[in-house]
């Protein structure tokens, strides 16, 4: 496919899914009344209080997480990592837990910042560990990430259990858009700004992905680039966790598929990654809404299944050059 046709297809898919997302739910809206403007006051309320917020939240979280995954893969020069598989999500949850225990009165924005700070620490820890590896085996890096997130996760579980916060922890660790209403998701708009920042710095991330020596040789400040990248990644993780919870594997699945179709030149491919992430999460959310009406299946659960299948496929697709 040519780049332009990919872009067109992806945009169309996102638009179609968004419209579907506006219609589908416990109370159905018909496309006809939406198009002709024949909506009752009740319909409008539903649309503005629930459906629009939910659709925006899904788009923003999907795009943000996919881009965060892409950045993480560039910074660690590894295909198989993303925030939720290297301990960033768990660290951010730890941050939420800590701030809920120590300063429950803080405004949500401040709480999110604390979560982001913890996420940043988690990401930095992961980077520090993999930089120590003499043999940067392509599969050792994600393995270490998964174990690291397991360890942090166990600690978070322990704390939550001790302080009776298992339920809150559950809501942070399982992505779910069913609770999204106007007034409860707006923090996610921050993801839009962060994604824009990522697009601006795309070239630098691509160069960082070619390795420190290449980046420095071309005059790119490697340390600063990595730091900016990690800040974006942890902020995106934190806002999603605070607003809707962890959505696993988006950051892994989308950049990998885009890479297969259109390569890894960040500046060109970030738009696809962004649209792909939005489309994927929207599709999973819609699926979760229709599959077991009137109950909803959280997007975290559907993504878990889908993401694991794609991950395994990638793992056995071909022998990676650097395995």
């Amino acid at each position: 496919m040519t780049n332009r046709s990919i872009l067109a297809t992806a945009s169309l898919a996102v638009a179609a899914l968004s419209i579907a997302s506006l219609m589908i739910g416990a109370g159905d809206l018909s496309p006809v009344s939406l198009a002709t403007g024949g909506l009752t006051a009740e319909d409008l309320r539903l649309l503005f209080v629930s459906r629009f917020p939910r659709t925006f939240a899904t788009l923003l979280a999907g795009a943000g997480l996919a881009v965060a995954g892409l950045i993480m893969q560039m910074l660690s020069s590894n295909r198989f990592v993303e925030p939720s598989t290297i301990g960033v999500s768990e660290s951010a949850a730890l941050g939420m837990l800590t701030v809920t225990l120590l300063a429950p009165g803080l405004p949500i924005f401040a709480k999110m910042l604390v979560a982001a700070l913890f996420g940043l620490a988690g990401a930095a820890l992961f980077m520090a560990i993999i930089h120590r590896l003499r043999l940067r085996s392509g599969l050792l890096v994600p393995l270490i990430g998964l174990i690291l997130s397991g360890i942090i996760g166990a600690f978070v579980n322990f704390l939550a259990y001790r302080f009776d916060l298992m339920q809150s922890l559950g809501s942070w660790l399982t992505g779910d858009f069913s609770m999204v209403l106007a007034g409860r998701y707006e923090l996610l708009w921050l993801a839009l700004g962060l994604t824009a920042l990522a697009i601006l710095a795309a070239d630098r991330f691509t160069l960082a992905g070619l390795g420190r020596d290449v980046a420095v040789g071309l005059g790119v400040p490697y340390g600063v680039t990595v730091a900016i990248g990690l800040v974006i990644v942890s902020l995106v993780s934190a806002v999603t966790i605070v607003s809707v919870g962890v959505i696993p594997f988006v950051g892994l699945v989308v950049p990998n598929i885009v890479s297969m179709l259109a390569g890894d030149n960040g500046r060109q491919t970030i738009p696809y990654v962004l649209l792909g992430g939005a489309a994927l999460v929207l599709a999973c959310d819609i699926l979760g809404r229709v599959i077991r009406m009137p109950y909803e299946i959280p997007v975290g659960t559907t993504m878990g299944v889908l993401g694991a299948v794609v991950f395994l496929t990638l793992l056995f697709r071909r022998r990676p050059a650097h395995g």
Partner: protein, 343 residues
């Protein structure tokens, strides 16, 4: 990493064989003191667990704590032995059944059965019958899946580990999805059965678990000499006349039975096996399975019983043993991985 592995093999092959000046004693007798010490420690832990804070009401305390103790001993033994066996057939010291997603697989089988049989029907069924069906299913599918995985992926340990971990994620996610698909009101009925843990031990299955463990352990004891040869790796084992593939499948079946027991009783325990198996090797070496397995089993008993006693009775932290084990075991695993990756 591949290189590092190969180097290990070469080093092992190049190690000079000591001249047989006098017949060596068996590993058990050689490590008699250590094993006796571990046995004593395990016994003391059990006694303490049963007696600390048990004021009056013995009629209530004894059966209650006794059942819990029995469960911990069974589970510890099952995890320890299955881990060592799994490491033997995969010729690797950092793989364990649970890291490879074995117990998540058991969880999936449980969920699938409930899903297709209907929650109400499953709840009405005799738990022992259900357990038996689940165990047999696990033995069948796990041997197939992991037999294939081990034979195809054995050369690249990281790919093997990573696919195991992700398989675990997949099994858990599919279970989660199916649980969501079951009618929520019906689901409550089976929920307890699906989520055993150290503090809600499923005691109805103690008897049948004990029988399974006894039978399988006997089988392991009979296989000890073969296991020692299997530990040399695939090629040496074949050239010494072992039917490697068949043996691997048999051992996988044994491992599956152990995993079924421990998961049915207390739920998944990710890194515990790695912890006790590594420690056992440090203490008694790995020359003979008899000693390693015995030591690992005793260590598991000590860790679980003493750990539970300390956490519950001394520190007053109830119900966190699983998390503590996960935390410490995870760190040990990470250190092992890094040691091999950076050395």
């Amino acid at each position: 990493m591949d290189d590092a592995l190969r180097l290990d093999e070469r080093r092992a092959a190049a190690r000079p064989i000591a001249p047989p000046s006098k017949p060596r004693r068996s590993a058990i007798r050689e490590n008699g003191v250590i094993l006796a010490g571990l046995g004593a420690l395990a016994l003391v832990s059990c006694v303490l667990f049963m007696t600390i804070d048990a004021r009056g009401a013995w009629g209530f305390v004894l059966p209650f704590r006794g059942a819990k103790l029995a469960a911990m001993l069974l589970v510890g033994h099952a995890i320890a032995v299955s881990t060592i066996l799994f490491q033997t057939i995969s010729a690797n010291r950092i793989l364990t059944p649970s890291i490879m997603g074995f117990d998540a697989f058991y969880g999936l089988i449980q969920t699938v059965l409930v899903f297709f049989a209907g929650a109400a029907f499953a709840a009405a069924l005799d738990p022992k019958l259900l357990f038996t069906v689940e165990t047999i299913t696990l033995i069948g599918f796990a041997s197939l899946l992991y037999g294939t995985l081990l034979s195809t992926g054995a050369r690249d340990i990281h790919r093997l580990l990573l696919s195991g971990v992700i398989l675990g994620v997949l099994f858990r996610s599919v279970s989660g999805l199916m649980q969501r698909l079951i009618d929520p009101t019906e689901f409550v009925v089976v929920q307890d059965r699906l989520f055993a843990s150290f503090n809600s031990v499923d005691t109805t299955l103690l008897g049948i678990s004990a029988i399974v463990i006894a039978v399988v352990t006997l089988a392991v004891i009979r296989m000890l000499p073969v296991l020692d040869v299997l530990a040399l790796g695939r090629e040496p084992a074949i050239s010494l006349g072992i039917e490697h593939r068949r043996m691997v499948l048999i051992v996988l079946g044994i491992v599956a039975s152990f995993v079924a027991v421990s998961t049915a009783l207390v739920g998944p325990v990710a890194f515990f096996g790695l912890l006790v198996a590594s420690l056992a090797r440090v203490l008694v070496g790995s020359r003979e399975h008899a000693a390693t397995i015995l030591a690992a089993s005793l260590l598991a008993a000590i860790a679980l019983v003493a750990g539970q006693t300390i956490l519950e009775r001394v520190l007053g932290f109830d119900a966190v043993l699983g998390m503590v084990v996960e935390f410490i075991g995870g760190i040990v695993f990470l250190v092992l991985l890094l040691k091999r990756g950076t050395a």
